[in-house]
């Protein structure tokens, strides 16, 4: 496939647990590490999926990529240029190229201005367009996302959930962004509306030749939309690779638990086994407390192992011999 346009290496984000009160209730750390050494790359025209449960750091990752949060440590390369998060130029470079669509369409649209104003806000100021040119661009963006022109004069509260998400999309694509970060773009929508938005995303990708970073907890959507997938758990990527590979042959115990738990029309696993899960671990492998295949090595930080079609962070494969990792020495 094409060259990577976005490369993220060792992205680490931590939040400060500021007050003493916070620290005394839970863990006594001063810093809460939300993302831990995340590395992935995005290629031109690709949809890269990030799947994870509540608290896995999905949204933090999305927000860091558009410069809302500052990472502690990282090496981010965008179209061959190193992004410096500490400098204004770095953040500007990010924001020129990467757009974001938030999960909550109600909270991300200003209720006091019209849809026209919301969309035109996405036009970069340096383009210095005249009013007519602006109007032309807004209408063009609305056409691209299938938003009727009559809706341009309404306010966000008058729109349905699907229409709000279309407005969010229009506001992002009008600035000519090349990469869109979609943070749970369909999770608050009805299934039939979700299907319409997914179709719209598939079409926009072809028409505008953009790339997506698709963040969701819904495995069926990931399976349908993404070329490659990363499985995020408690701030770490446990496995990433080709979507089909991960769904058909999940290597990490967590990925296989996820795939087994997924409910679809064709799901065959019976509802019988109820396995108890534990808290994410702070030492060694994060998943060791819930893992069914735990053994002695899991108390140490697992290595990231490349198996050709992807990588997996698990001790099970540290001396992998065959493709499925069944026969190995412990």
């Amino acid at each position: 496939m094409n060259e990577p346009i976005l490369e993220v290496e060792n992205l680490t984000v931590q939040f400060k647990a500021k007050t003493k009160m916070f620290r005394s209730t839970g863990d006594r750390e001063k810093w809460k590490r939300v993302l831990n050494a995340i590395s992935f790359s995005l290629r031109q025209g690709e949809t890269f999926g990030i799947v994870g449960e509540t608290g896995s750091g999905k949204t933090t990752l999305a927000r860091t990529l558009v410069g809302i949060y500052k990472p502690k440590d990282c090496k981010v390369t965008l179209y061959g240029k190193r992004v410096d998060f500490r400098k204004k130029e770095g953040i500007l470079l990010l924001r020129k190229t990467i757009g974001i669509v938030f999960q909550d369409p109600v909270g991300s649209l200003n209720p006091r201005v019209t849809v026209y104003d919301i969309i035109s806000e996405g036009i970069p100021v340096w383009e210095k367009l005249k009013e007519e040119q602006k109007a032309e661009k807004v209408r063009e963006a609305a056409r691209l996302v299938d938003l009727p022109e009559s809706k341009l004069e309404s306010y966000p509260t008058e729109l349905s959930g699907g229409e709000k998400q279309r407005v969010s999309l229009a506001r992002t694509i009008i600035g000519g962004k090349k990469i869109l970060v979609l943070d749970e773009p369909t999770s608050s929508l009805d299934v039939s509306i979700q299907a319409q938005i997914l179709n719209l995303l598939i079409r926009l990708k072809k028409e505008l030749s953009i790339s997506y970073i698709f963040i969701t907890h819904d495995l069926n959507v990931i399976k349908y939309m993404c070329d490659r997938v990363a499985v995020l758990y408690y701030g770490q990527i446990l496995e990433q690779g080709n979507t089909e590979e991960i769904f058909e042959h999940p290597r990490h115990p967590y990925s296989s638990d996820l795939v087994a738990a997924n409910i679809s029309f064709s799901s065959t696993t019976k509802f019988s086994e109820v396995q108890e899960s534990g808290e994410p671990s702070k030492e060694g492998c994060v998943y060791k407390n819930s893992c069914s295949k735990r053994f002695a090595s899991c108390d140490n930080e697992p290595p990231v192992i490349d198996y050709g079609k992807g990588t997996v962070k698990c001790w099970l494969y540290s001396n992998m011999r065959d493709d499925r990792g069944n026969k190995m020495e412990r």
Partner: protein, 332 residues
């Protein structure tokens, strides 16, 4: 005539029978028809699903059955609900208290259905008092602990002494399931029991309910927007659209051969398999606004097969083979 109706009620094999239920929501300036002529039955030891998008009236249906609907603004315009042959709506027979042991409900958001100012233990105790009013205190305590263990809570003593907000979403839902279990209801209504929960937790809660169903509970009425969840749990389903039942039948039949165009669309909307860039088969349009329903069949603006008659007359539910029903002019 009256005799024959009563005799039929006695012989009825159904646990719950909702017939021709209509509910309006009335405000100062308008009246909205939320349920229109809805008939639903739940047999003994059967899992029945009610599936629909937002605004289909599925949650209102559940609330009417349990009797927690706010009246007003809601107003029951007609219909009858029988539980085990006894009328509970419009006139409860002998003032029978059907909640608790008769019908019980698990709500979508356990944080709002559990009381925030009482500990888990106190709320469990209240439930046990309904389920087993005549037992000694010691026996009641034992039942509380046993039922919490049944829902796969490991640290029972720890959970008993905390308040709902201190528990995670999955644990809260388990506590509310445990509370229902000690009352041993004949009919359990689940209103979107796993929406908003993580995937693995969702799977566990569903497994738990299905396992317990085998042992303790008799019948389940599942309210959900997710056809895939219904497909994995239910024996029979009702598909609702804009306050009406548009299709019903055995789960397997409906899924493999949907009759109503809406059911077909709902099924096609679920992403399934690897797309590699292929779009989903779904028509434009949004779920209905109950305040401005189109004339005729409410689905006609989104229906790919809409005919002239669909825009003028509402189709009646028509019986098909295999105990199926569909409300669509295509089958007249």
């Amino acid at each position: 005539m009256i005799d024959s109706i009563q005799r039929r009620d006695k012989l009825s094999p159904n646990l719950l029978e909702v017939s021709n239920l209509s509910v309006n929501f009335e405000t100062i300036d308008r009246t909205v028809e939320v349920l229109k002529d809805v008939s639903v039955t739940v047999g003994k030891e059967e899992v029945v699903g009610v599936v629909g998008e937002s605004g289909s009236g599925k949650s209102t249906l559940a609330q009417v059955i349990v009797g927690v609907l706010d009246i007003p603004p809601a107003r029951i315009m007609g219909g009858r609900i029988l539980l085990e042959g006894k009328e509970i709506l419009p006139h409860p027979e002998n003032k029978v208290n059907f909640r608790g042991k008769g019908i019980n409900m698990i709500f979508q958001e356990p944080l709002t259905s559990l009381n925030p100012v009482y500990s888990v233990h106190d709320q469990m105790e209240e439930a046990v008092n309904i389920g087993h009013p005549k037992l000694e205190k010691k026996e009641k305590e034992a039942i509380i602990r046993k039922s919490l263990a049944e829902v796969m809570i490991r640290d029972v003593e720890g959970v008993l002494n905390v308040y709902p907000h201190q528990l995670s979403g999955g644990m809260r839902q388990r506590v509310s399931i445990a509370m229902v279990l000690v009352q041993k209801p004949n009919l359990l209504i689940l209103d979107e029991p796993t929406t908003g929960l993580d995937l693995i937790v969702q799977r566990k809660i569903i497994s738990l309910i299905m396992n317990l169903k085998k042992e303790v509970l008799s019948s389940i009425l599942l309210i959900t927007h997710d056809l895939a969840v219904a497909a994995n749990m239910c024996d029979r389903i009702y598909v609702m659209y804009a306050g009406r039942v548009v299709e019903s039948g055995k789960m397997r039949d409906v899924l493999h051969d949907p009759k109503h165009p809406y059911t077909t669309m709902l099924k096609n909307s679920e992403p399934e398999g690897y797309a590699n860039g292929a779009p989903l088969k779904v028509s434009s349009g949004a779920p209905p606004d109950l305040r401005h329903l189109p004339p005729g069949c409410a689905f006609n603006p989104r229906c790919p097969m809409a005919m002239d008659i669909c825009r003028s007359k509402v189709p009646e539910l028509k019986k098909l083979a295999d105990n199926r029903e569909v409300a669509c002019w295509l089958y007249e």
